[in-house]
Protein backbone atom coordinates (compact mmCIF):
# COMPACT_ATOMS: atom_id res chain seq x y z
CA UNK A 1 0.00 0.00 0.00
CA UNK A 2 1.40 3.35 -1.04
CA UNK A 3 1.17 5.88 1.80
CA UNK A 4 1.02 8.80 -0.62
CA UNK A 5 -1.84 7.25 -2.59
CA UNK A 6 -3.66 6.77 0.73
CA UNK A 7 -3.12 10.38 1.72
CA UNK A 8 -4.25 11.60 -1.67
CA UNK A 9 -7.65 9.90 -1.35
CA UNK A 10 -9.22 12.67 0.74
CA UNK A 11 -7.88 15.29 -1.64
CA UNK A 12 -9.28 13.50 -4.67
CA UNK A 13 -12.67 13.40 -2.93
CA UNK A 14 -12.48 17.14 -2.35
CA UNK A 15 -11.49 17.69 -5.97
CA UNK A 16 -14.55 15.72 -7.06
CA UNK A 17 -16.87 17.80 -4.89
CA UNK A 18 -15.44 21.07 -6.17
CA UNK A 19 -16.01 19.83 -9.72
CA UNK A 20 -19.60 18.91 -8.86
CA UNK A 21 -20.29 22.34 -7.46
CA UNK A 22 -18.74 23.98 -10.51
CA UNK A 23 -20.90 21.85 -12.77
CA UNK A 24 -24.00 22.74 -10.73
CA UNK A 25 -23.17 26.44 -10.97
CA UNK A 26 -23.07 26.26 -14.74
CA UNK A 27 -26.05 23.98 -15.35
CA UNK A 28 -28.43 25.37 -12.70
CA UNK A 29 -27.18 28.94 -12.66
CA UNK A 30 -27.02 28.86 -8.87
CA UNK A 31 -24.19 30.89 -7.39
CA UNK A 32 -22.11 28.56 -5.25
CA UNK A 33 -18.89 30.48 -5.64
CA UNK A 34 -18.50 31.03 -1.90
CA UNK A 35 -18.89 27.27 -1.24
CA UNK A 36 -16.42 26.52 -3.97
CA UNK A 37 -13.97 29.05 -2.61
CA UNK A 38 -14.29 27.56 0.88
CA UNK A 39 -13.63 24.06 -0.43
CA UNK A 40 -10.71 25.27 -2.51
CA UNK A 41 -9.17 26.92 0.52
CA UNK A 42 -9.62 23.74 2.50
CA UNK A 43 -8.07 21.78 -0.35
CA UNK A 44 -5.03 24.04 -0.48
CA UNK A 45 -4.66 23.86 3.29
CA UNK A 46 -4.77 20.05 3.40
CA UNK A 47 -2.47 19.76 0.41
CA UNK A 48 0.00 22.00 2.15
CA UNK A 49 -0.24 20.01 5.36
CA UNK A 50 0.36 16.70 3.59
CA UNK A 51 3.07 17.66 1.15
CA UNK A 52 4.99 20.68 2.39
CA UNK A 53 7.19 18.59 4.64
CA UNK A 54 7.41 14.89 3.84
CA UNK A 55 9.29 12.27 5.85
CA UNK A 56 11.91 10.14 4.10
CA UNK A 57 9.46 7.23 4.14
CA UNK A 58 6.77 9.33 2.48
CA UNK A 59 9.28 10.41 -0.13
CA UNK A 60 10.09 6.77 -0.86
CA UNK A 61 6.39 6.25 -1.52
CA UNK A 62 6.15 9.39 -3.61
CA UNK A 63 9.02 8.02 -5.70
CA UNK A 64 6.99 4.82 -6.16
CA UNK A 65 3.70 6.56 -6.94
CA UNK A 66 1.91 4.63 -9.70
CA UNK A 67 1.19 7.85 -11.65
CA UNK A 68 4.68 9.27 -11.38
CA UNK A 69 6.27 9.98 -14.79
CA UNK A 70 8.48 7.10 -15.92
CA UNK A 71 11.41 6.99 -18.33
CA UNK A 72 9.09 6.62 -21.35
CA UNK A 73 7.20 9.78 -20.30
CA UNK A 74 10.50 11.67 -20.41
CA UNK A 75 11.51 10.13 -23.72
CA UNK A 76 8.13 11.13 -25.17
CA UNK A 77 9.02 14.79 -24.66
CA UNK A 78 12.34 14.55 -26.49
CA UNK A 79 12.13 16.04 -29.99
CA UNK A 80 12.75 12.54 -31.32
CA UNK A 81 13.51 9.07 -29.97
CA UNK A 82 14.49 5.93 -31.87
CA UNK A 83 14.72 2.92 -29.63
CA UNK A 84 17.55 0.41 -29.96
CA UNK A 85 17.10 -3.10 -28.63
CA UNK A 86 19.02 -6.03 -27.26
CA UNK A 87 22.29 -7.03 -25.63
CA UNK A 88 23.55 -8.85 -28.77
CA UNK A 89 24.01 -12.01 -26.71
CA UNK A 90 20.80 -13.39 -25.33
CA UNK A 91 17.71 -11.16 -25.33
CA UNK A 92 16.20 -7.70 -25.10
CA UNK A 93 15.40 -6.66 -21.53
CA UNK A 94 12.23 -4.52 -21.45
CA UNK A 95 13.17 -3.01 -18.06
CA UNK A 96 15.81 -0.99 -19.90
CA UNK A 97 14.77 1.42 -22.66
CA UNK A 98 17.39 3.22 -24.70
CA UNK A 99 18.30 4.65 -28.04
CA UNK A 100 19.16 7.65 -30.19
CA UNK A 101 17.31 10.81 -29.25
CA UNK A 102 17.14 14.48 -30.06
CA UNK A 103 17.07 16.81 -27.09
CA UNK A 104 16.23 20.14 -28.64
CA UNK A 105 18.64 20.05 -31.57
CA UNK A 106 21.29 17.94 -29.85
CA UNK A 107 21.82 14.25 -30.72
CA UNK A 108 22.17 12.20 -27.56
CA UNK A 109 21.98 8.62 -26.35
CA UNK A 110 19.08 8.33 -23.91
CA UNK A 111 18.89 5.30 -21.63
CA UNK A 112 16.58 4.60 -18.72
CA UNK A 113 15.11 2.06 -16.38
CA UNK A 114 11.46 1.44 -17.14
CA UNK A 115 8.94 0.16 -14.65
CA UNK A 116 5.37 -0.65 -15.61
CA UNK A 117 2.46 1.66 -15.06
CA UNK A 118 0.06 -1.21 -14.37
CA UNK A 119 0.34 -4.85 -13.29
CA UNK A 120 0.48 -6.24 -16.79
CA UNK A 121 3.22 -3.89 -17.88
CA UNK A 122 5.05 -4.36 -14.59
CA UNK A 123 5.21 -8.10 -15.20
CA UNK A 124 6.60 -7.52 -18.68
CA UNK A 125 9.14 -4.99 -17.44
CA UNK A 126 9.97 -6.94 -14.27
CA UNK A 127 8.94 -3.98 -12.08
CA UNK A 128 11.84 -2.00 -13.50
CA UNK A 129 14.47 -4.39 -12.14
CA UNK A 130 16.97 -5.05 -14.93
CA UNK A 131 18.60 -8.39 -15.63
CA UNK A 132 22.22 -8.75 -16.78
CA UNK A 133 20.93 -8.52 -20.36
CA UNK A 134 19.52 -5.10 -19.52
CA UNK A 135 22.82 -3.87 -18.14
CA UNK A 136 24.66 -5.29 -21.15
CA UNK A 137 22.33 -3.28 -23.37
CA UNK A 138 23.11 -0.18 -21.29
CA UNK A 139 26.80 -0.83 -21.65
CA UNK A 140 26.51 -1.39 -25.39
CA UNK A 141 24.61 1.84 -25.92
CA UNK A 142 26.97 3.82 -23.66
CA UNK A 143 29.93 2.44 -25.57
CA UNK A 144 28.32 3.32 -28.89
CA UNK A 145 27.63 6.86 -27.67
CA UNK A 146 31.21 7.23 -26.48
CA UNK A 147 32.51 6.10 -29.87
CA UNK A 148 30.22 8.45 -31.82
CA UNK A 149 30.73 11.39 -29.48
CA UNK A 150 27.10 11.58 -28.40
CA UNK A 151 26.38 12.81 -24.87
CA UNK A 152 24.60 10.28 -22.67
CA UNK A 153 21.43 11.06 -20.72
CA UNK A 154 20.18 8.43 -18.27
CA UNK A 155 16.97 8.10 -16.25
CA UNK A 156 17.23 6.11 -13.04
CA UNK A 157 14.12 4.43 -11.65
CA UNK A 158 14.61 1.02 -10.06
CA UNK A 159 14.34 -0.77 -6.74
CA UNK A 160 17.54 -2.53 -7.76
CA UNK A 161 18.93 -5.10 -10.13
CA UNK A 162 16.89 -8.28 -10.52
CA UNK A 163 17.77 -10.84 -7.80
CA UNK A 164 16.66 -14.03 -9.55
CA UNK A 165 18.23 -17.37 -10.43
CA UNK A 166 18.63 -16.59 -14.13
CA UNK A 167 20.24 -13.24 -13.31
CA UNK A 168 22.84 -14.97 -11.16
CA UNK A 169 23.45 -17.59 -13.86
CA UNK A 170 23.98 -14.82 -16.40
CA UNK A 171 26.44 -12.97 -14.13
CA UNK A 172 24.53 -10.00 -12.77
CA UNK A 173 27.65 -8.87 -10.86
CA UNK A 174 29.78 -8.81 -13.98
CA UNK A 175 27.08 -7.03 -15.99
CA UNK A 176 26.81 -4.21 -13.43
CA UNK A 177 30.57 -4.05 -12.87
CA UNK A 178 31.12 -3.64 -16.63
CA UNK A 179 28.51 -0.89 -16.80
CA UNK A 180 30.27 1.02 -14.04
CA UNK A 181 33.56 0.63 -15.89
CA UNK A 182 32.04 1.88 -19.14
CA UNK A 183 30.54 5.00 -17.57
CA UNK A 184 33.73 6.00 -15.74
CA UNK A 185 35.55 5.86 -19.09
CA UNK A 186 32.89 7.22 -21.49
CA UNK A 187 34.55 9.99 -23.52
CA UNK A 188 31.37 12.08 -23.69
CA UNK A 189 29.38 14.15 -21.19
CA UNK A 190 27.09 12.02 -19.03
CA UNK A 191 24.05 13.46 -17.24
CA UNK A 192 22.00 11.16 -14.99
CA UNK A 193 18.59 11.94 -13.53
CA UNK A 194 17.05 10.02 -10.64
CA UNK A 195 13.36 10.36 -11.50
CA UNK A 196 11.89 7.92 -8.99
CA UNK A 197 13.65 5.15 -7.13
CA UNK A 198 17.42 4.90 -7.00
CA UNK A 199 17.94 1.47 -5.53
CA UNK A 200 21.47 0.27 -4.89
CA UNK A 201 23.96 -1.00 -7.49
CA UNK A 202 21.15 -1.44 -10.00
CA UNK A 203 20.73 2.34 -9.98
CA UNK A 204 24.44 3.12 -9.80
CA UNK A 205 24.96 1.20 -13.04
CA UNK A 206 23.17 4.05 -14.85
CA UNK A 207 24.29 6.97 -12.74
CA UNK A 208 28.03 7.40 -12.82
CA UNK A 209 27.83 10.81 -14.41
CA UNK A 210 29.44 14.20 -14.73
CA UNK A 211 26.25 15.65 -13.38
CA UNK A 212 23.70 13.88 -11.18
CA UNK A 213 20.27 15.45 -11.02
CA UNK A 214 17.54 14.29 -8.64
CA UNK A 215 13.87 15.14 -8.58
CA UNK A 216 12.82 16.76 -5.33
CA UNK A 217 10.95 13.69 -4.08
CA UNK A 218 13.02 10.92 -5.60
CA UNK A 219 15.33 8.84 -3.42
CA UNK A 220 18.69 7.19 -3.92
CA UNK A 221 19.95 4.65 -1.45
CA UNK A 222 22.60 2.03 -0.82
CA UNK A 223 19.66 -0.41 -0.66
CA UNK A 224 15.88 -0.03 -0.64
CA UNK A 225 14.66 0.66 2.91
CA UNK A 226 13.11 -2.85 2.88
CA UNK A 227 16.39 -4.38 1.73
CA UNK A 228 18.40 -2.48 4.32
CA UNK A 229 16.04 -3.52 7.13
CA UNK A 230 16.24 -7.14 5.99
CA UNK A 231 20.03 -7.06 5.84
CA UNK A 232 20.63 -5.33 9.18
CA UNK A 233 17.71 -6.48 11.29
CA UNK A 234 16.32 -9.47 9.34
CA UNK A 235 12.99 -7.66 9.30
CA UNK A 236 11.79 -5.93 6.15
CA UNK A 237 8.92 -4.56 8.25
CA UNK A 238 11.33 -2.04 9.76
CA UNK A 239 11.68 -0.31 6.40
CA UNK A 240 10.31 2.99 7.67
CA UNK A 241 12.99 3.10 10.35
CA UNK A 242 15.66 2.26 7.76
CA UNK A 243 14.38 5.03 5.47
CA UNK A 244 14.75 7.51 8.32
CA UNK A 245 18.37 6.50 8.99
CA UNK A 246 19.73 6.00 5.47
CA UNK A 247 19.83 9.70 4.48
CA UNK A 248 18.38 8.81 1.10
CA UNK A 249 16.53 12.00 0.14
CA UNK A 250 17.76 14.31 -2.60
CA UNK A 251 18.29 17.01 0.01
CA UNK A 252 20.49 14.78 2.22
CA UNK A 253 22.52 13.63 -0.76
CA UNK A 254 23.13 17.17 -1.96
CA UNK A 255 24.57 17.81 1.49
CA UNK A 256 27.01 14.94 0.97
CA UNK A 257 28.08 16.32 -2.41
CA UNK A 258 26.71 13.29 -4.26
CA UNK A 259 23.89 15.12 -6.02
CA UNK A 260 24.67 18.19 -8.13
CA UNK A 261 21.19 19.57 -8.67
CA UNK A 262 17.65 19.08 -7.37
CA UNK A 263 14.74 19.77 -9.73
CA UNK A 264 11.66 20.97 -7.80
CA UNK A 265 8.33 19.20 -8.13
CA UNK A 266 4.87 20.77 -7.93
CA UNK A 267 3.14 20.53 -4.55
CA UNK A 268 1.74 17.01 -4.39
CA UNK A 269 4.44 15.48 -6.58
CA UNK A 270 5.63 15.30 -10.19
CA UNK A 271 2.50 13.45 -11.35
CA UNK A 272 0.33 16.48 -10.44
CA UNK A 273 1.84 18.20 -13.47
CA UNK A 274 3.62 15.49 -15.38
CA UNK A 275 4.28 17.46 -18.57
CA UNK A 276 5.59 20.46 -16.66
CA UNK A 277 7.79 18.30 -14.43
CA UNK A 278 9.28 16.47 -17.40
CA UNK A 279 9.92 19.77 -19.20
CA UNK A 280 11.70 21.21 -16.16
CA UNK A 281 13.96 18.15 -15.92
CA UNK A 282 14.79 18.21 -19.62
CA UNK A 283 15.58 21.91 -19.33
CA UNK A 284 18.07 21.13 -16.57
CA UNK A 285 19.59 18.31 -18.60
CA UNK A 286 20.02 20.62 -21.59
CA UNK A 287 21.74 23.31 -19.60
CA UNK A 288 24.04 20.73 -17.98
CA UNK A 289 24.94 19.35 -21.39
CA UNK A 290 25.67 22.86 -22.66
CA UNK A 291 28.18 23.41 -19.87
CA UNK A 292 29.76 19.96 -20.10
CA UNK A 293 30.08 20.01 -23.88
CA UNK A 294 32.31 23.06 -23.63
CA UNK A 295 34.96 21.02 -21.81
CA UNK A 296 37.77 19.24 -23.70
CA UNK A 297 37.48 15.44 -23.28
CA UNK A 298 40.61 15.10 -21.13
CA UNK A 299 39.32 17.74 -18.73
CA UNK A 300 35.91 16.14 -18.62
CA UNK A 301 37.38 12.76 -17.69
CA UNK A 302 39.73 14.26 -15.13
CA UNK A 303 36.86 16.13 -13.49
CA UNK A 304 34.76 12.96 -13.41
CA UNK A 305 37.59 11.03 -11.76
CA UNK A 306 38.08 13.71 -9.14
CA UNK A 307 34.37 13.96 -8.49
CA UNK A 308 34.21 10.33 -7.36
CA UNK A 309 37.71 10.31 -5.92
CA UNK A 310 36.64 12.84 -3.31
CA UNK A 311 33.50 11.06 -2.11
CA UNK A 312 33.99 9.65 1.33
CA UNK A 313 33.94 10.56 4.98
CA UNK A 314 36.90 9.17 6.83
CA UNK A 315 39.64 10.88 8.71
CA UNK A 316 43.37 10.60 8.42
CA UNK A 317 46.38 12.65 9.26
CA UNK A 318 47.11 13.29 5.59
CA UNK A 319 43.52 14.15 4.73
CA UNK A 320 44.33 17.22 2.61
CA UNK A 321 46.77 15.49 0.32
CA UNK A 322 44.33 12.89 -0.98
CA UNK A 323 42.33 13.83 -4.03
CA UNK A 324 44.37 16.88 -4.93
CA UNK A 325 47.53 15.04 -5.76
CA UNK A 326 46.52 12.48 -8.33
Amino acid sequence: MNVIVEREKGLLELERRIEELRAATTSQSVDMSSDIRALEEKYAQIQHEIFSSMSPWQKVHMARHPNRPTTLDYLAQFARFDELHGDRHFRDDPSIVGGFALLGTRSVMAIGEQRGRDTKENLRRNFGMPSPEGYRKVRRLAHLASRLGLPIVTFVDTKGADPGIASEEHAQSEAIASCLYEFTQARVPVVAVVIGEGGSGGALALSIADRLIMLEHSYYSVATPEGCAAILWSDAGKAEEAAARLKLTAQDLQGFGIVDEIVPEPLGGAHRDAAGSVARVLGSVESSLRQLSALPTAELLEARYRKYRRIGAWHAERLEAIGDNL
Partner: protein, 285 residues
Protein backbone atom coordinates in the same frame (compact mmCIF):
# COMPACT_ATOMS: atom_id res chain seq x y z
CA UNK B 1 64.40 -12.32 6.56
CA UNK B 2 63.19 -11.52 10.11
CA UNK B 3 59.48 -11.92 10.84
CA UNK B 4 57.82 -8.53 10.33
CA UNK B 5 56.35 -6.73 13.32
CA UNK B 6 52.74 -7.02 12.16
CA UNK B 7 53.00 -10.76 11.74
CA UNK B 8 54.65 -11.29 15.13
CA UNK B 9 51.91 -9.30 16.85
CA UNK B 10 49.31 -11.29 15.01
CA UNK B 11 50.83 -14.64 15.89
CA UNK B 12 51.37 -13.82 19.53
CA UNK B 13 47.73 -12.88 19.82
CA UNK B 14 46.69 -16.19 18.29
CA UNK B 15 48.98 -18.17 20.57
CA UNK B 16 47.89 -16.45 23.78
CA UNK B 17 44.27 -17.09 23.06
CA UNK B 18 44.02 -20.35 25.06
CA UNK B 19 40.26 -20.64 24.84
CA UNK B 20 40.43 -21.02 21.10
CA UNK B 21 42.98 -23.82 21.02
CA UNK B 22 40.44 -26.11 19.42
CA UNK B 23 37.91 -25.34 16.77
CA UNK B 24 35.26 -27.25 14.91
CA UNK B 25 35.11 -27.51 11.12
CA UNK B 26 32.13 -25.55 9.85
CA UNK B 27 31.51 -28.20 7.20
CA UNK B 28 32.34 -31.67 8.60
CA UNK B 29 32.24 -30.81 12.34
CA UNK B 30 35.64 -32.42 12.92
CA UNK B 31 37.37 -31.01 16.03
CA UNK B 32 40.62 -29.44 14.90
CA UNK B 33 43.73 -28.35 16.80
CA UNK B 34 44.16 -24.70 15.87
CA UNK B 35 47.94 -24.72 15.35
CA UNK B 36 47.49 -27.66 12.95
CA UNK B 37 44.75 -25.77 11.18
CA UNK B 38 46.92 -22.65 10.90
CA UNK B 39 49.82 -24.74 9.59
CA UNK B 40 47.44 -26.14 6.97
CA UNK B 41 46.54 -22.57 5.83
CA UNK B 42 43.16 -22.75 7.56
CA UNK B 43 42.01 -25.63 5.40
CA UNK B 44 40.24 -28.45 7.30
CA UNK B 45 42.69 -31.38 7.56
CA UNK B 46 39.82 -33.82 7.22
CA UNK B 47 37.41 -32.48 4.56
CA UNK B 48 39.36 -29.68 2.85
CA UNK B 49 36.91 -26.94 3.83
CA UNK B 50 38.50 -23.52 3.36
CA UNK B 51 37.95 -21.43 6.49
CA UNK B 52 37.47 -17.67 6.16
CA UNK B 53 40.91 -16.22 6.74
CA UNK B 54 42.09 -13.29 8.72
CA UNK B 55 43.62 -10.66 6.42
CA UNK B 56 47.09 -10.79 7.96
CA UNK B 57 47.14 -14.59 8.00
CA UNK B 58 46.28 -14.43 4.32
CA UNK B 59 48.96 -11.87 3.55
CA UNK B 60 51.57 -14.03 5.27
CA UNK B 61 50.66 -16.93 2.95
CA UNK B 62 50.93 -14.79 -0.19
CA UNK B 63 53.88 -12.39 0.12
CA UNK B 64 57.56 -13.32 0.46
CA UNK B 65 57.67 -12.09 4.07
CA UNK B 66 57.75 -8.41 3.15
CA UNK B 67 54.71 -6.16 3.22
CA UNK B 68 54.39 -2.40 3.60
CA UNK B 69 50.89 -1.26 4.42
CA UNK B 70 49.16 1.54 2.51
CA UNK B 71 46.28 3.58 3.86
CA UNK B 72 46.12 2.19 7.39
CA UNK B 73 46.01 5.77 8.64
CA UNK B 74 42.61 6.13 7.02
CA UNK B 75 39.95 5.51 9.66
CA UNK B 76 36.16 5.45 9.66
CA UNK B 77 34.00 8.44 10.37
CA UNK B 78 30.29 8.30 11.11
CA UNK B 79 28.83 10.34 8.27
CA UNK B 80 25.21 9.30 8.83
CA UNK B 81 25.44 9.45 12.64
CA UNK B 82 23.97 5.99 12.52
CA UNK B 83 22.38 4.41 15.58
CA UNK B 84 20.31 1.24 15.79
CA UNK B 85 20.83 -1.24 18.63
CA UNK B 86 24.29 0.24 18.94
CA UNK B 87 25.87 3.33 17.44
CA UNK B 88 27.99 2.80 14.35
CA UNK B 89 31.18 3.96 16.12
CA UNK B 90 30.45 1.40 18.86
CA UNK B 91 30.05 -1.36 16.27
CA UNK B 92 33.35 -0.32 14.70
CA UNK B 93 35.11 -0.31 18.05
CA UNK B 94 33.84 -3.83 18.81
CA UNK B 95 34.99 -5.10 15.43
CA UNK B 96 38.40 -3.49 15.86
CA UNK B 97 38.78 -5.26 19.17
CA UNK B 98 37.61 -8.64 17.88
CA UNK B 99 39.44 -8.64 14.57
CA UNK B 100 42.55 -6.68 15.57
CA UNK B 101 42.07 -4.75 12.35
CA UNK B 102 41.52 -1.05 11.76
CA UNK B 103 39.02 -1.68 8.98
CA UNK B 104 37.68 -4.34 6.60
CA UNK B 105 40.59 -4.37 4.17
CA UNK B 106 44.36 -4.43 4.51
CA UNK B 107 46.31 -3.00 1.58
CA UNK B 108 49.98 -2.72 0.83
CA UNK B 109 52.91 -3.63 -1.37
CA UNK B 110 55.27 -6.57 -1.20
CA UNK B 111 56.78 -9.22 -3.40
CA UNK B 112 55.22 -12.47 -4.57
CA UNK B 113 57.73 -15.07 -5.78
CA UNK B 114 60.15 -12.21 -6.21
CA UNK B 115 57.91 -9.87 -8.17
CA UNK B 116 56.60 -6.55 -6.88
CA UNK B 117 52.90 -6.61 -6.32
CA UNK B 118 50.20 -4.40 -4.80
CA UNK B 119 48.01 -6.53 -2.58
CA UNK B 120 44.62 -5.85 -1.02
CA UNK B 121 42.99 -8.36 1.30
CA UNK B 122 39.46 -7.97 2.60
CA UNK B 123 38.49 -9.55 5.91
CA UNK B 124 34.98 -10.85 6.52
CA UNK B 125 35.49 -10.64 10.29
CA UNK B 126 35.28 -6.84 10.18
CA UNK B 127 31.67 -5.75 9.56
CA UNK B 128 31.17 -8.70 7.22
CA UNK B 129 33.84 -7.33 4.91
CA UNK B 130 31.41 -4.62 3.89
CA UNK B 131 32.69 -1.72 1.81
CA UNK B 132 32.35 1.68 3.39
CA UNK B 133 34.33 4.82 2.72
CA UNK B 134 37.51 3.50 4.33
CA UNK B 135 37.53 0.24 2.38
CA UNK B 136 36.84 2.20 -0.81
CA UNK B 137 39.53 4.74 -0.02
CA UNK B 138 42.18 2.15 0.85
CA UNK B 139 41.51 0.13 -2.30
CA UNK B 140 41.62 3.30 -4.40
CA UNK B 141 44.93 4.30 -2.80
CA UNK B 142 46.29 0.82 -3.51
CA UNK B 143 45.31 0.97 -7.18
CA UNK B 144 46.74 4.47 -7.55
CA UNK B 145 50.03 3.34 -5.99
CA UNK B 146 50.15 0.27 -8.24
CA UNK B 147 49.47 2.47 -11.27
CA UNK B 148 52.20 4.90 -10.29
CA UNK B 149 54.70 2.07 -9.82
CA UNK B 150 53.37 0.12 -12.82
CA UNK B 151 53.13 -3.10 -10.81
CA UNK B 152 50.36 -5.73 -10.90
CA UNK B 153 47.57 -5.56 -8.37
CA UNK B 154 45.92 -8.53 -6.66
CA UNK B 155 42.83 -8.10 -4.50
CA UNK B 156 41.34 -10.84 -2.32
CA UNK B 157 37.64 -10.19 -1.88
CA UNK B 158 35.44 -11.27 1.04
CA UNK B 159 32.41 -9.09 1.46
CA UNK B 160 28.71 -8.95 2.10
CA UNK B 161 28.50 -5.85 -0.12
CA UNK B 162 28.16 -2.15 0.58
CA UNK B 163 28.05 -1.09 4.23
CA UNK B 164 24.53 0.00 5.18
CA UNK B 165 25.63 2.24 8.05
CA UNK B 166 27.42 4.56 5.62
CA UNK B 167 24.50 4.75 3.21
CA UNK B 168 25.09 6.32 -0.19
CA UNK B 169 28.67 7.21 0.69
CA UNK B 170 29.28 3.45 0.82
CA UNK B 171 27.53 2.81 -2.52
CA UNK B 172 29.63 5.55 -4.12
CA UNK B 173 32.79 3.60 -3.25
CA UNK B 174 31.79 1.23 -6.06
CA UNK B 175 32.08 4.20 -8.41
CA UNK B 176 35.32 5.44 -6.86
CA UNK B 177 37.09 2.08 -6.93
CA UNK B 178 35.83 1.42 -10.48
CA UNK B 179 37.31 4.70 -11.66
CA UNK B 180 40.64 3.72 -10.09
CA UNK B 181 40.48 0.20 -11.58
CA UNK B 182 39.74 1.63 -15.03
CA UNK B 183 42.71 4.03 -14.93
CA UNK B 184 44.98 1.29 -13.66
CA UNK B 185 43.90 -1.23 -16.29
CA UNK B 186 43.81 1.24 -19.17
CA UNK B 187 47.50 1.89 -18.56
CA UNK B 188 48.15 -1.75 -19.42
CA UNK B 189 48.65 -3.07 -15.90
CA UNK B 190 47.57 -6.50 -14.72
CA UNK B 191 44.66 -6.77 -12.31
CA UNK B 192 43.86 -10.08 -10.64
CA UNK B 193 41.09 -10.76 -8.14
CA UNK B 194 40.79 -13.77 -5.88
CA UNK B 195 37.21 -14.30 -4.78
CA UNK B 196 36.94 -15.92 -1.37
CA UNK B 197 33.98 -16.90 0.76
CA UNK B 198 31.74 -14.92 0.56
CA UNK B 199 31.85 -12.29 -2.19
CA UNK B 200 28.58 -10.56 -2.97
CA UNK B 201 26.67 -7.33 -3.51
CA UNK B 202 28.51 -4.08 -4.12
CA UNK B 203 31.95 -5.68 -4.09
CA UNK B 204 31.10 -8.46 -6.52
CA UNK B 205 29.31 -5.91 -8.74
CA UNK B 206 32.40 -3.70 -8.90
CA UNK B 207 36.12 -4.47 -8.68
CA UNK B 208 35.74 -8.22 -7.98
CA UNK B 209 34.46 -8.77 -11.52
CA UNK B 210 36.43 -6.03 -13.30
CA UNK B 211 39.79 -7.79 -13.27
CA UNK B 212 41.79 -9.45 -16.05
CA UNK B 213 41.97 -12.80 -14.30
CA UNK B 214 39.41 -13.97 -11.77
CA UNK B 215 40.47 -16.74 -9.40
CA UNK B 216 38.12 -18.29 -6.83
CA UNK B 217 38.69 -20.46 -3.79
CA UNK B 218 36.95 -23.86 -3.65
CA UNK B 219 33.32 -23.79 -2.48
CA UNK B 220 33.35 -20.00 -1.96
CA UNK B 221 29.87 -18.46 -2.22
CA UNK B 222 29.96 -15.79 -4.91
CA UNK B 223 27.04 -13.85 -6.32
CA UNK B 224 25.26 -10.55 -6.65
CA UNK B 225 22.17 -11.13 -4.52
CA UNK B 226 22.41 -13.02 -1.25
CA UNK B 227 20.97 -16.51 -1.07
CA UNK B 228 18.29 -15.46 1.41
CA UNK B 229 17.11 -12.61 -0.83
CA UNK B 230 16.80 -14.91 -3.84
CA UNK B 231 14.96 -17.59 -1.85
CA UNK B 232 12.52 -14.99 -0.56
CA UNK B 233 11.99 -13.63 -4.06
CA UNK B 234 11.32 -16.98 -5.73
CA UNK B 235 9.84 -18.65 -2.62
CA UNK B 236 11.76 -21.86 -2.98
CA UNK B 237 15.00 -23.39 -1.71
CA UNK B 238 18.07 -23.05 -3.90
CA UNK B 239 20.24 -26.05 -4.72
CA UNK B 240 23.39 -26.33 -2.56
CA UNK B 241 25.87 -25.76 -5.35
CA UNK B 242 24.15 -22.55 -6.55
CA UNK B 243 26.54 -19.57 -6.40
CA UNK B 244 29.55 -21.69 -5.46
CA UNK B 245 32.92 -21.11 -7.09
CA UNK B 246 32.51 -24.39 -8.98
CA UNK B 247 29.08 -23.30 -10.25
CA UNK B 248 30.57 -20.03 -11.47
CA UNK B 249 33.42 -21.85 -13.17
CA UNK B 250 30.92 -24.02 -15.05
CA UNK B 251 28.88 -20.93 -16.05
CA UNK B 252 32.00 -19.17 -17.29
CA UNK B 253 32.15 -16.38 -14.73
CA UNK B 254 35.56 -17.13 -13.24
CA UNK B 255 38.84 -18.28 -14.80
CA UNK B 256 39.90 -20.90 -12.28
CA UNK B 257 39.15 -22.44 -8.91
CA UNK B 258 42.38 -22.93 -7.00
CA UNK B 259 43.01 -24.76 -3.73
CA UNK B 260 44.56 -22.51 -1.09
CA UNK B 261 47.74 -24.61 -0.99
CA UNK B 262 48.34 -23.92 -4.69
CA UNK B 263 47.23 -20.31 -4.68
CA UNK B 264 50.56 -18.54 -4.24
CA UNK B 265 52.17 -20.62 -6.97
CA UNK B 266 49.23 -20.02 -9.32
CA UNK B 267 49.35 -16.26 -8.73
CA UNK B 268 53.12 -16.33 -9.23
CA UNK B 269 52.66 -17.96 -12.64
CA UNK B 270 50.02 -15.41 -13.68
CA UNK B 271 52.38 -12.57 -12.75
CA UNK B 272 55.14 -14.28 -14.68
CA UNK B 273 53.06 -14.62 -17.86
CA UNK B 274 51.98 -11.01 -17.63
CA UNK B 275 55.53 -9.77 -17.09
CA UNK B 276 56.84 -11.71 -20.09
CA UNK B 277 54.37 -10.01 -22.39
CA UNK B 278 53.85 -6.45 -21.28
CA UNK B 279 50.54 -5.05 -22.50
CA UNK B 280 50.89 -1.85 -24.50
CA UNK B 281 49.75 1.29 -22.69
CA UNK B 282 46.34 2.58 -23.70
CA UNK B 283 45.23 -0.65 -25.32
CA UNK B 284 41.64 -1.75 -24.88
CA UNK B 285 40.98 -3.89 -21.83
Amino acid sequence: MPTPEWLRRRRSKNQNDGAALWTRCVKCAEVLYRPDLAANLWVCTKCGYHFRMNAFDRISTIVDNDFVEIGNEVQSGDPLEWVDKKSYPAKLAADRENSQLGEGVVCGCGTLTGRDVALGVMDFHFRGGTMGTVVGERITMLLEEARKRRIPCIIFTASGGARMEEGMLALMQMAKTTAAVARFMDDGNLFVTVLTDPTSGGVSASFAFQSDVIVAEPKAMIGFAGRRVIEQTIRQKLPDQFQTAEFLLEKGHVDMVVDRHDLKAALGRILEYAAAEPVAAGSDR
